[in-house]
Symmetry: C2
Subunit: 227 residues, 2 copies
């Protein structure tokens, strides 16, 4: 029974790794679509999202079957339930990357990004891309310290998000109305990708330690996802 659990869980973990890699590719593609006004990159992210959705559905099915047939307890149960929830979170991260790609596609051949806000979005893009890389690593190494560091540095992304409102709200802002709308949405999507990454990192901490960092009295670790 124990061996069967390990074998099946390895299969599901492999699928989750595949999903993480697909999400990372979607985030990178969305950045290329947005910042280089690259229509092919945009279309590729939009078309590719269906694969991420299918991976989520498959992982959830496998987890439910595991729960029903193998009735895991303790750490094993935490792993299965957390895997199921991480898959749903990855699916949402893929959707957000798709939303960014959709904005780039709609604006094409123009850029959706006004020059005044480009640097800020480049930083948010780099942040989310790097965070996705870290998630891929943490999923494999289950390194609690690295997960906690990822959770802690999310405030940097929040600062960038706040900064975008300052740029759009400044007298010097000369973007079109559509660029204003897009800037607010893009900033929100970037920020939400980061929030979901924090959610995944929290669930990995929970798998490793049985401790739910969202219940930590330390402010930086406390609080649920914000949407």
């Amino acid at each position: 029974m124990r061996e069967l659990f390990t074998e099946e869980m390895n299969k599901i973990s492999g699928d989750l790794d595949t999903m993480a890699a697909a999400v990372k590719a979607a985030i990178d593609g969305a950045g290329k679509a947005l910042l280089d006004a690259d229509i092919d990159a945009a279309q590729s992210v939009i078309d590719g999202d269906i694969k991420i959705d299918a991976l989520e559905a498959s992982i959830i099915d496998q987890c439910l079957e595991m729960l029903a047939r193998q009735t895991p307890v303790a750490t094993d149960l935490r792993v299965v339930v957390s895997t199921l929830r991480i898959a749903s979170t990855f699916e949402r991260m893929g959707d957000l990357a798709r939303h960014i790609a959709e904005i780039a596609r709609r604006a094409y051949p123009e850029s959706a990004v006004n020059p005044a806000i480009r640097d800020c979005f480049q930083k948010m893009q780099d942040f989310d891309s790097h965070t996705a890389d870290e998630l891929i690593q943490i999923l494999k190494n289950h390194n609690e310290d690295q997960a906690v560091k990822l959770i802690e540095k999310d405030s940097q992304l929040d600062d960038l998000h706040t900064k975008t409102f300052g740029i759009v709200n400044a007298d010097s802002w000369n973007g079109t109305k559509q660029q204003t709308i897009d800037a607010v949405l893009i900033a929100r999507f970037y920020e939400r990708i980061g929030d979901h990454a924090v959610g995944v990192a929290r669930r990995i901490v929970f798998i490793v330690s049985g401790f739910d960092p969202s219940k930590d009295p330390t402010p930086v670790l406390a609080g649920g996802l914000d949407e």
Copy 2:
């Protein structure tokens, strides 16, 4: 064992009903805060969110304990896992109501809502409030038809969401930059509340029928949550 399951599940269902009622109150409070520039209503929603978060944490704990101790299968397993996920979705709906209340609080004593967009936001508010009422009912009656109807009518909210962009992007729009930013965010928050309600309705269909409507080839039922 079976009796114990029923007894414990009734307790958890009761907590989920309490959570649904708290979310409905948060949505109504957010609407009052936003549309009447009511600072007390805003503060009450913001302060009350911590209770919704605590309910989520408690329900998830109870579900995990159920899974570990009672090892439910078939319908019972679906109920427990779906309950856990519905609690997380309600938590996010509460966060979104809080975000709307926060925008109202920041704008006070001014209104965050430009008159040109007021009617649209009133309609989105009424839609979400009514949807929250329906969720409360469906949680109790497990009426699959009502759940499917709720899923289907979400397109009305999407239309209102699209309409807000048209208003903000029109030549006739005379809102301040801050009102533009707020309008884009508020519309997004209202739309997301509706999306999450659809997610809850889908999970109730899954509990009742064992059928996951997100895998339905019918377009209106297909597709995951969009964020």
